[in-house]
Amino acid sequence: MAASTTFNWPWQYDFPPFFTIQKNADTKAKQIEAWCTLVLEYHQHNKLLKLRVADALASPLFSNKAIERKLPKEGVMEVLESLCKKGNVQWDDKSKTSCVIYWKTIEQWADIIYSWASKTGSLNTVCTLHELTQGPHTTSEPFHGLDDWLLIKALSTLQSRGKAELIGEEGVKFFA
């Protein structure tokens, strides 16, 4: 799904030191924090889930052509590792060439979907997965357009909590 509005870059994006990993530990912590926020917001805005490190290095996310700065690979890795610790990144392989960016964690997704279900009175009824992500009633919801595998993961979490039950591979029933 293409972004409907242009992404609002944070102020740091135009601040050259943002693209140099800082030596001062405190400063660096704040810098990495800012990067994490930016990466998540960027992916959320563009509804991107996958990130390949090699591609990311050249993407506008990590390089600002206007001020001719780009975050070096070590920097990118540090940011992703930091996100990984927070549960927002899951590496696809051990060599860490690509990863999934959960701009919301599975837990958060699960909560969002459940609260939607209870809000719209969909509890104790069966919904199709297609209905959840592509249906006309969910266009304004954040999980609209969500990948199926992610949706299933979130619903599985709800299932383990006893709040929902997956029916086959297409449907789900929410419990009160």
Binding site: Q12, K23, N24, T27
Partner: protein
């Protein structure tokens, strides 16, 4: 020819050799003599001829007998000659090779040339009349106590060449030792100079009224740059800890003012240059300086050696405060949005190395952040630390 006397060739009192020319033959007037190959020596007192094959054959004529001399240029198969006209022989003359002669002049034939120089030197020697000045102490006869001077070194064959080389070496040796003597003398003089300068300084203090304050200050600064009056040396204070302690005191007193002028901090390399410039001759090794500087802190001399994390060594006054430097640096960076070490160095007129240390210091304090790009390392105000913008 009858004016000549037998001679030992040894110097007379006050006599100096002026010129020596080899391969000279003597003519008694127009007649050839058996003295056909020898070296002719001109001294301040006499002309000496010494046989080149048997140096015991040595005859001389005192310069006081010479009336005048003239040159006869040579030609094909004929060597250039010098005619020397002589006065009548002295009655008391010591015996010579010829008792009577028809001629009042002798001629020297220069087979190897050199007659013009001999002519000039002979004439100037006759004008100087050096022999008259010492005639009261010596007669024209050679002094018998002459030193065991060996005959002239003859350059013939390999032995001759070897001798010549040996002689050259001796002369070089002598020159070198003379040169070093000069150096020692210079060092002695330097000490005198230093004491002189301190004397002048004291006098200036006394006569302060006569000279304006400005001039006094100026002159004092000249004197100061002349050096330390009494440098601490290994000779005066031995080596080891005591030496370094004394040295530390000297460093502290000498560098206090420059340090104050340089915002309380100075690169050790700069300090090294300043110390050695002030010491003049008694140069200090870098190791001794370092050891002495390490003691500064313990001796409570208001300054200490400091090593930055980058390994840069500096001397720093105790009054120097990092906080002040950090806040000043941060302010400067704030004003110009971003600074490189070079730009800061220009702004506060310190060396680039020190400017970089200042920036790194401020960075460690979390006041600045860095931008390391192809254009070099620049420092920005640490906007990350300011929560919201």
């Amino acid at each position: 020819m009858d004016r000549f006397s037998w001679s030992t060739g040894g110097p007379l009192y006050g006599e100096k050799e002026i010129l020596k020319q080899s391969s000279v033959r003597i003519y008694d007037g127009d007649e050839k003599t058996s003295y056909d190959d020898g070296s002719l020596i001109l001294t301040t007192h006499q002309i000496i001829w010494r046989d080149s094959s048997d140096f015991q054959i040595c005859i001389s004529v005192p310069l006081c007998l010479v009336v005048f001399c003239e040159k006869q240029s040579g030609g094909i198969g004929r060597s250039a000659k010098l005619s020397v006209h002589l006065q009548a022989a002295q009655a008391n003359r010591t015996p010579g090779p010829v008792s009577r002669s028809r001629y009042d002049y002798v001629r020297f034939s220069f087979k190897n040339g050199g007659e013009s120089e001999f002519h000039t030197k002979l004439q100037s020697a006759m004008q100087t009349k050096e022999w008259e000045k010492t005639s009261s102490q010596a007669t024209s006869s050679p002094v018998s106590k002459s030193s065991a001077k060996t005959g002239p070194i003859r350059a013939s064959g390999i032995v001759g060449i070897e001798r010549k080389i040996e002689e050259n070496r001796r002369v070089t040796d002598k020159n070198i030792s003379v040169a070093f003597q000069d150096l020692t003398k210079l060092m002695e003089k330097a000490k005198e100079m230093v004491s002189l300068s301190s004397n002048i300084a004291n006098k200036i203090k006394d006569k302060k009224g006569d000279i304006t304050d400005d001039e006094t200050v100026k002159f004092k600064s000249y004197l100061l740059s002349l050096g330390i009056p009494n440098p601490v040396t290994k000779e005066t204070h031995g080596s080891g800890t005591h030496y370094h302690m004394q040295l530390a005191h000297e460093i502290a007193s000498l560098l206090k003012q420059p340090l104050e002028e340089n915002a309380g901090i100075m690169l050790l390399s700069d300090a090294y240059c300043r110390i050695n410039r002030a010491r003049g001759m008694e140069l200090l090794s870098p190791e001794d300086l370092l050891n002495a500087c390490r003691m500064l802190d313990n001796l409570k001399l208001h300054m200490k050696l400091r090593e930055f994390e980058t390994g840069v060594l500096v001397l720093q006054l105790d009054s120097h405060s990092d906080e002040k430097v950090i806040s000043q640096t941060t302010e400067l960076v704030d004003d110009s949005k971003s600074l490189s070490a070079q730009e800061l160095a220009n702004l506060v007129s310190v060396s680039v190395l020190l400017a970089k240390e200042r920036l790194l210091l401020a960075e460690r304090a979390g006041k600045l952040c860095r931008d390391d790009s192809d254009e070099g390392l620049r420092f920005y105000p640490n906007l990350f630390a300011q929560p919201m913008r």
